[in-house]
Symmetry: C2
Subunit: 142 residues, 2 copies
């Protein structure tokens, strides 16, 4: 018998687990296949906002994925223990778009969302969660 228990999380449990600010991983389809990048996100006005510098093909493809509309990218947030034997993982899908300059200012005024990878040309991206799924792995109680 496995010594750990797998559990699917509902949307409410997922929202409770996600810290208001933290590190997430953004996934999208690049020209080389699926791509993942770490980003700093913040929850602001019911949406998830992140910011990243533009540096190469991967970042260009991220911009293209955002322009591609709903379903073209996903944000994953997790917390996995040091031994990596338990923890939780939440996956957020939803329409994503670039912030307008006014919204960028507004976001910066009310939150601190720093780019993990700074760059001259920055992308501010907002995802409105439409589908939130999650999973948790815990030690089995005796």
């Amino acid at each position: 018998m496995a010594d750990r228990v797998f559990e699917e999380l509902d949307e409410y449990q997922c929202l409770t687990l996600i810290p208001p600010t933290g590190v997430g991983r953004i996934a999208y389809l690049s020209r080389f296949g699926p791509a993942v990048l770490p980003i700093n996100y913040t929850v602001h006005r019911g949406a998830v906002v992140f910011r990243t510098g533009e540096h190469g093909p991967l970042d260009e493809d991220l911009g293209t994925a955002v322009a591609g509309g709903e379903g073209s990218l996903a944000l994953e947030i997790d917390e996995v223990s040091a031994g990596a034997r338990d923890g939780w993982s939440v996956l957020i899908h939803g329409p994503a778009r670039r912030l307008t300059p006014g919204e960028e200012e507004d976001t910066l005024r009310y939150t601190r969302v720093e780019p993990w990878a700074p760059g001259e040309r920055e992308l501010f991206i907002r995802i409105v969660p439409a589908r939130i799924t999650g999973r948790r792995v815990s030690p089995r109680s005796a």
Copy 2:
């Protein structure tokens, strides 16, 4: 001027940074769009091996992505500082396939690769790196 420096990493730098065993995030295209899941990986005989339980549509889609052949999934490994202002991220693309039962035994004999999410039906997956890219963000020296 930004207080941090962005740098692209070459394949050698990437291979030096990746720990031989650790937590990575696997990305693939699911029926809901891109999906990401944390996994425990191990480097074994020049390839990256991971193991995960099968639980729902996401895991089924991972199996389908593997069957889809090269370019259908990617593994990301990173180390981001607590303040999430610096660190590195490596992205591995390459042909992926399920291990045969003999290879599973062999992998288990020589390495410890534990599934992050255990399950009755487990997938053992092997990715042979074909394209390795990476990025690092460091504090700018004075």
